[in-house]
């Protein structure tokens, strides 16, 4: 549905997008994840035909975004970072204007407007002037604008920015409901959003793609070896000594854990080694109480940090 091949965009000396390639299949939700200024918006603008790439090609529904720009724009709904709304228009007349410039025949207008308003829960704001709406409602009007003409491809640049938690959940559900019949690309720097809504994730940093995979694969693939957390009550030095001698343990870190003078340790093991039984046996052997022993999984947050910070070693596991 969407094919991006070796796309580069530079502004003078700076390169915003650097040889990026990826594809999106029909009906899929692709998440675009990266820190601010990573090149997410630029990539989306190239896909929507807003700006041309410096080199490389991108195709949407088989049409080249540069050569057949008008054809591509017919198939796309796009929500830019700031909702592109006219403050002096009512929600309804704004959506009708959008339908007119998207070349949707007039007889379909009222049905399409009703549908978009229903999907974005804007029914009661239909006749309200857009300038009187709150930030979250404006964002929803922007979202309605992106899907009012029922496009094949919907591109959303940070769709949940400015929404309250309840609205965020509504928008995520809406996006999930749209998948299947629509192909969706959304960008975000909020990690849970990606793991909750997307089928696949493209992690982009400094204009380059750092990883492309499903959220699940990314999590397990990057974990590599295993990391476990032990909580016990023992002298720190002795515990460190003991755990370091467990076969398979690569790195041990001991620190204060919880209340009552508990001591916690995290143990990284080499790939394919499960050290949990060994660790438990050793501690019990010493007669120390074992309060907790569990495997830690790296969250998308850690993966993101690993991939996007220069020193991957600084990535810390979350509990």
């Amino acid at each position: 549905m969407i094919e991006v091949e070796d796309v580069t965009k530079s502004y003078g000396a700076t390169t915003a997008v650097d040889h990026v390639s990826f594809t999106v299949n029909r009906g899929e939700i692709l998440g675009f994840l990266g820190p601010n200024g990573a090149g997410k918006t630029t990539t989306m603008r190239i896909l929507t035909g807003y700006m041309p790439a410096t080199s490389g090609t991108a195709r949407v529904s088989g049409f080249d975004v540069f050569k057949d720009s008008l054809q591509v724009r017919r198939h796309i709904g796009y929500l830019p970072e700031a909702p592109p709304v006219y403050p002096d228009m009512s929600v309804e007349s704004y959506l009708e204007f959008v339908l007119r410039i998207k070349n949707v025949p007039a007889e379909k207008h009222s049905a399409r407007v009703d549908d978009a308003l229903a999907k974005t829960n804007l029914g009661d704001k239909r006749h309200e002037l857009i300038k009187r709406l709150s930030r979250g409602y404006k964002q929803r009007v922007g979202l309605a604008q992106a899907l009012v003409h029922d496009p094949d491809v919907i591109i959303l640049d940070e769709p949940t920015v400015g929404l309250d938690p309840k609205q965020i959940i509504e928008v995520r559900n809406l996006i999930k409901a749209l998948a299947g019949s629509h192909t969706i690309i959304l960008s975000t720097h909020i990690l849970p959003e990606v793991s909750m809504t997307c089928d696949r994730v493209v992690i982009i940093n400094k204009g380059k793609i750092a990883a492309v995979d499903t959220p699940q694969n990314l999590t397990s693939q990057l974990r590599g070896g295993q990391r476990i957390r032990v909580e016990t009550k023992a002298p720190e030095k002795q515990l460190q000594d003991l755990l370091s001698h467990v076969p398979g343990a690569a790195r041990v870190e001991v620190g204060a854990g919880g209340a009552d003078g508990h001591v916690a340790a995290t143990v990284d093991s080499a790939q394919g080694q499960d050290v949990r039984s060994q660790v438990a046996a050793k501690i019990v052997e010493k007669g120390w109480p074992l309060y907790e022993l569990r495997g830690l999984s790296l969250s998308l947050e850690d993966i993101f940090l690993q991939l996007t910070t220069d020193d991957a070693a600084h990535a810390q596991p979350s509990n």
Partner: protein, 262 residues
């Protein structure tokens, strides 16, 4: 064509739903009414004096009151346009850029030419709405004055105004496409209008080739003929090519937004 109309309709809504149209048109008409009244009074006084002098020396007066009033009125209308057009054009593109709605237009299946033309026609319509009520003054003279107002001057004068105003609108919308800030657009536009106007001063002697070229470029110079009831082909060509040039440049400028860093 449908896309041009979609843009046109949106722009008309923008002018007439927001206070822009009412403020611009209203103020313009108040000033027009004031100056028309002033010129009418002046011309009638002058005619009276001429008649008295004529009676003294036993000659018939041939002071043409309606002709004088219309010529003076057409002149001041053009001057008002110099001040009012920048207010009409300042937001045409800069507002869209500032609000980010340009991104919507430019990712929709419409061409830059359609966007620019739709907006130009809408601003021209607003200009017609400004101008139309001034026809009532002419109508008033038509009914009340003796002799009748010179039709040729009225017709040519209004044609000249339309061309002059259209040229200013084209230039103004081009300058509006260069910046995100409507105030900067307005100042640029006003400065450019004034400069094109002032080209006429100091070059009226037209001694050298350069001076005559500069004189030709002056946007007001070609208008003078129309207020005398003369439709000069070179003036027609000047205004039409001026409009086409700046509409073309606006299309290029809008297109170039794609290549600039937003």
């Amino acid at each position: 064509m449908r896309s041009i109309y979609a843009i046109y309709r949106k722009e008309m809504g923008h002018y007439f739903v927001s206070p822009i149209a009412y403020v611009v048109v209203g103020l313009f008409l108040i000033l027009c009414g004031f100056f028309f009244n002033l010129y009418l009074g002046d011309a009638m006084r002058a005619a009276m004096e001429a008649q008295m002098q004529g009676a003294q020396f036993g000659m018939a007066s041939n002071f043409d009151v309606p002709g004088e009033v219309i010529r003076a009125f057409l002149g001041v209308l053009a001057l008002f346009l110099l001040f009012f057009m920048p207010m009409v054009t300042m937001g045409i593109f800069s507002d869209e850029r500032r609000r980010g709605t340009m991104e919507l237009l430019m990712t929709s299946p419409i061409t830059e030419t359609q966007i620019v033309l739709g907006k130009f026609f809408a601003s021209f319509t607003l200009f017609l709405v400004m101008l139309l009520p001034t026809a009532s003054y002419i109508l008033f003279m038509w009914v009340k004055s003796e002799p009748m107002p010179p039709l040729r001057v009225v017709g040519a004068g209004y044609l000249g105004l339309l061309l002059f105003g259209g040229a200013l609108l084209a230039l103004g919308s081009f300058l509006s496409s260069l910046t995100e800030n409507p105030i900067i657009a307005a100042v640029l536009t006003f400065g450019a209008f004034l400069l094109l106007w002032a080209l006429d001063f100091g070059s009226s002697g037209a001694a050298s080739t350069v001076e005559s070229v500069v004189h030709y470029l002056s946007v007001i110079n070609h208008y003078q003929g129309f207020t005398q009831g003369v439709i000069d082909t070179s003036a027609l060509v000047y205004y039409v090519s001026f409009m086409v040039l700046f509409i073309f440049l606006t299309v290029r400028s809008v297109d170039s937004m794609r290549w600039r860093r937003a």
